[in-house]
Amino acid sequence: MNQSNTFWRVALLALPLSVFALIIIWPLLSSFYYGFTNWNGFSDTYDFVGFENFGKLFSDRLFMSAAINTIIWMAIAVVLPTVLGLSLALLIDSHVPGGPIFKTIFYLPICLSAVVVGQVWVWIYQPDWGLLNSIIEYVTNDRFNYAWLAKPDSALYSVIVAWSWQATGLSMVIYLAGLTAIPGDLLEVCELEGATTWQRIRHVILPLLTPATVVVVALSVINSLKGFDILYIMTGGGPFNSSDTLAMHMYNESFKKYLMGYGSAISVVLFLVALTIIRLYFKQLKKVDEIYG
């Protein structure tokens, strides 16, 4: 009985494990491997260069600016979708008229691919007839044709706003689930004790939403590290690499400059950063579980 159980366990695990190994573990190990080579991505021969690629990272001006952009993206990603998602969730949870319709509308961007979202926002930012400039013109009653995506000062932030617009729906849904999980009698205690709306949010709802916040922040940070597809559609990292992120920089180095070895080294760095964040996330999750679980 036990033996046949073991057989089935191994047999049933084998298929998903082999797929996982093929599409996750193998490419991951390959990246590590190529990170130590000067492979160009297509030739049969390459040399081992040791830590040269990793050393080069420190002197690569574009890598540094991409790293800074990624940190900016991450910082805004922590704040914007979290605050917006929480605000929308609180608003919808307070039974505003049309709440369920708004919930669907705000969630809709999640169902779209980043490419579609990117293209929609390219149109919104379009200098001459885009929605944003049209609204500004309408409000100020003056000609306004700022090219949001073509200026180094605003390109990165414009993309982050578009990305946050998509990410907000997910945070909202996670927060709504968190709000549903708050026991009704705790909120009734607030009412009996005479807490104002703000006191209720500040002292009870926000602390009780900590598990949701940990998930939202972690997802935002991890997703911001992957900030590539929407960026590729909207700016391609430009103008003048001003909106380059690590993921974008890795792509450019690997597939445009054919420096697969160097690109792999960047991907290894990205992987290690993501790993650290995920570790912190699980550590925090465990702590939260101890308090609220």
Partner: protein, 351 residues
């Protein structure tokens, strides 16, 4: 001075009326227990007193002030929930002082009052702990502490002991009774446990289908229930009911020597009510009926014998002292204490 007054309270959800006009006067310092089966409206009534549920019509007064439409926090009440409703992210001290801190009470005073309350409830050593580090009984004490610190006119308890195990429930029951004596507070206590009701209450209010069936001292309700529902609800094991007929006051039932029991108002179909403790095994030849023992439950200090009779389709429950041995299959001569016999009219009213 009346501590709490309910006048013709009604509650409807849409077209569906769940509380059909409740009137009640509660004196200062009284321990009132709302009791009744699930869905009878007792918890809804408590929530309306607290203000967490709106009243459809009628008037609620607390300390002679009309609070029918007042916000829960303005009613001078405090409530203890079945689930304890403690904030998991706050320490015991923070939970107890929650209301005071919201009201920006000076820190020194908050500390002094928290210590006072903790002292009363003997939880001083737990003040720095979090709810997850407490046992069920300790959590309930903290919840009571949060209520006491408000110094309210009326305490509302919503099935506070339901989540505790049997032994702890008895202990906490005793503590609540002691606390009531010490504080002299007015308490409205909701439970479906009739033992809690009987042991704690100054007066019991029996609810059924959104109306009050009877209000009175526990012993009065036990001895003189107003109707069949109250008679059946209070007392464990519950009262035996036997269908019978009466003609001009004389009760008739084949197989039960009951002709001598008279109830002037009884006529037609009636129900006899006999508590298990008011039946006994007859020592003499003269008995009221013979019954076969179907099953015996040994409870230690006593036994419960379930009796098959010719006149009742349901077995009758009889309490038997542990010194008397009763076996399954025995034929027993049974006598019924006539003075403690209950008779109910067809509609259920006590005769």
């Amino acid at each position: 001075m009346s501590s709490l007054s309910l006048k013709n309270i009604k509650k409807s959800y849409g077209q569906h009326e769940v509380i059909h006009g409740v009137d009640l006067e509660v004196e200062k310092g009284e321990f009132i227990v709302f009791v009744g089966p699930s869905g009878c409206g007792k918890s809804t009534m408590l929530r309306m007193i607290s203000g967490l549920e709106e009243v459809t019509s009628g008037q609620i007064s607390i300390a002679d002030k009309d609070v029918t439409r007042a916000h829960p926090s303005k009613r001078e009440i405090a409530m203890v929930f079945q689930s304890y409703a403690l904030f998991p992210h706050m320490s015991v001290a923070e939970n107890i002082s929650f209301g005071l801190r919201l009201g920006k009470t000076p820190k020194d005073e908050v500390k002094r009052r928290v210590n006072e309350v903790a002292d009363t409830l003997q939880i001083t050593h737990l003040l720095e702990r979090f709810p997850r580090q407490l046992s069920g009984g300790q959590r309930q004490r903290v919840a009571i502490g949060r209520a006491i610190i408000r110094n309210p006119q009326v305490f509302l308890f919503d099935e506070p002991l339901s989540n505790l195990d049997a032994a702890l429930r008895v202990q906490m029951r005793l503590e609540i009774a002691r606390l009531h004596k010490r504080l002299g507070a007015t308490i409205i206590y909701v439970t479906h446990d009739q033992t809690e009701a009987m042991t704690l209450a100054d007066r019991i209010v029996v609810f059924n289908h959104g109306v009050i069936e009877q209000v009175g001292r526990p012993i009065d309700l036990y001895e003189r229930p107003a109707n069949k529902f109250v008679a059946g609800f209070l007392g464990a094991p519950s009262m035996n009911f036997i269908g019978a007929t009466a003609q001009q006051g004389a009760i008739q039932l084949d197989g039960f020597n009951i002709n001598d029991a008279q109830r002037a108002e009884a006529n037609g179909a009636i129900t006899l009510g006999i508590r298990p403790e008011h039946m006994s095994i007859s020592n003499t030849e003269a008995c009221d009926f013979s019954a076969k023992v179907e099953l015996v439950e040994e409870l230690g200090s006593e036994s419960l014998a379930y009796l098959q009779t010719s006149f009742s389709s349901d077995p009758l429950t009889m309490r038997v002292d542990h010194s008397i041995t009763v076996r399954e299959g025995d034929m027993l001569p049974v006598s019924v204490n006539r003075e403690l016999l209950h008779v109910f009219a067809e509609g259920g009213a006590s005769l």
